[in-house]
Amino acid sequence: MDGTGVILKQRQLGLKLRQKSGSRKGAVKLVLYLILLIHLVFTGYPFVWMVISAFKSDKEYFANPWGLPTEWHFENFAKAWNQGISSYLFNSLYITLFSVLGLLVVSTLIGYYLAARPFRGSGLLLGMFFLGMLIPVHSTLIPLFIMANAAGAYDTFWSLFFPYIGFNLPVAVFLSHAFFKDVPKEIEEAAVVDGCSIYQSFFRIYFPLAKPVLATVTIVSFFSIMNDFVFPLVMVSKEALKTLPIGLMMFKGNFSASYSLISAALVITTTPIIVMYMFLQKYVHKGVVAGAVKG
């Protein structure tokens, strides 16, 4: 292995090499920066345009797609809000909140058990959950629709609640199992010696420890449930249960002639998500990476 002196020498050498090609490096940097900026405009401009359009009158939307509005029409937002967007937003928040809570409870219970009390077949169970990640939602829609109808759950809260838990379980179980497996065994051994039952050790010791993984599961599943399009499309027809994605489609159908009003509805829909994302940005990225790099 290298001594520190050698490393220092190598660092200096590396520095020299880098300085030599300094001006070329500068040019390369400029090009790289330009690439980043182009992608920034490509990603961001549609949103900028959406916001600008939302303040225009329809006439101006059509006549002048690029410029700023000459008159700022704030009333577009009030109109969109009152024409259903508010109720769709609250429906979405409501179903998402309860589904995420349910998912957290269900996934930590089994994640803990499989980690703390492995048994013959527990590995197989985990594998089955992972396989669940490969299953397309569409392969289950017809039976779920039929089952919901037979059970009287069509057009109720439950026809969204259970599918959301089911389809988010694989990632959630994986994350919580991985977390609980890394908690030192000594903690529980001490608890058991003190006369703790498995329930007490879960609720008093493990569950409170699990805050980071609860946060990750919450973030990953929150956005996937909030933005889901398929289940409300198939399982819900009542206005009182329509969530934002489906509600927006309805809204677009009802106001198909008013592009600026639709833009206002899009802005209202997007704002809470973007604000939340900006605040939680670091955690969102971490959560998504943890959820994505499962294996």
Partner: protein, 296 residues
């Protein structure tokens, strides 16, 4: 450690694993088997089911729209693999040089990933609008007016237009995932390579990419699986049209089941979608695993 036995072990197992297993079985396992079961019937959900054996599957093989959908699904997958992953990796590598504003840009790049496809579908529907849309107006201003199209309304451009939006949405996802992976490479390895005079390209190709290969493997799998399931934007932006030119397997299944009320044939398509996806996942993980082994 003390282990529960007998009845107490049974109750604790039911308590801890029961809810998850019940939901998983009820929402995924049972519906999948029912889907396969329904695929052997002719059924409109109103009259009684008629067992017709493999007839739905024979129909599937001869259905020209299914082949169009399959081709489109594969094009969508290929488009995702060839655009999103390389662009994501490329931009992640640039970001990893930590130029000024990198963090801010990463945040913006990821924004479309967080939004609902309904929002993005409607927004891009407006951008693609043949009369008032930004895209045609941009082409006009650039003097390329002859390139203007009714992007979502023409057979030749509908699918490509959707593929572009999917890429626009998901590049940010891969940027963030690859960026995180690149950060995990220890500085010493990179430093040592620089000292030995390795060029940036060599470092990227010989060190960074091999070291994050397991992540790349995963993202390829993830990308293929998600592309096969792709439905939302198609439904919102083109509805599979015009003339089935942008139909994908999932949207064709939805059309047969919930629009034409042909639950038997719809189930056949969804069983096919599932088997095809699992098969592809198997092939990909085997293939990439082999490359993985070579790297190690």
């Amino acid at each position: 450690m003390m282990r529960e036995t007998g009845v107490s072990r049974l109750t604790s197992r039911v308590f801890f694993m029961g809810p998850a297993l019940a939901v998983f079985a009820g929402i995924i396992l049972i519906p999948i088997s029912m889907s396969v079961y329904y695929s052997f019937f002719q059924w409109d959900a109103i009259s009684a089911k008629i067992f017709i054996g493999l007839e739905n599957y024979l129909r599937l093989l001869q259905d020209p729209v299914l082949w169009i959908s399959l081709k489109n699904s594969l094009l969508l997958t290929l488009g995702a693999l060839m655009i999103q992953l390389p662009a994501g990796l490329f931009l992640a590598i640039i970001l990893s040089y930590k130029l000024k504003g990198s963090n801010f840009m990463k945040t913006i790049y990821f924004t479309p990933v967080m939004l609902s496809t309904a929002v993005l579908g409607i927004l891009w529907g407006q951008i693609y609008d043949p009369n008032f849309g930004l895209l045609n107006s941009l082409l006009d201003n650039l003097g390329l007016g002859q390139l203007a199209h009714a992007w979502l309304g023409e057979q030749s451009t509908a699918l490509g237009s959707v593929i572009a939006v999917v890429a626009w949405q998901f590049i940010g996802f891969y940027i963030v995932v690859f960026y995180a992976a690149l950060q995990n490479i220890s500085d010493e390895v990179l430093e040592a390579a620089k000292v030995e005079g390795a060029s940036e390209w060599r470092i990227i190709l010989r060190i960074q990419i091999p070291l994050i290969w397991p992540i790349i493997t995963f993202t390829v799998l993830n990308c293929v699986i998600n592309s096969l399931k792709y439905f939302d934007l198609i439904y919102i932006m083109t509805g599979g049209g015009p003339n089935n030119s942008s139909e994908v397997i999932a949207s064709y299944m939805m059309k047969n089941a919930f629009k034409l009320m042909d639950y038997g044939y719809g189930s056949t398509i969804s069983s096919f979608l599932m088997l095809f996806g699992l098969l592809l996942a198997l092939i990909i993980s085997k293939g990439l695993g082999r490359v993985n082994a070579r790297f190690q």
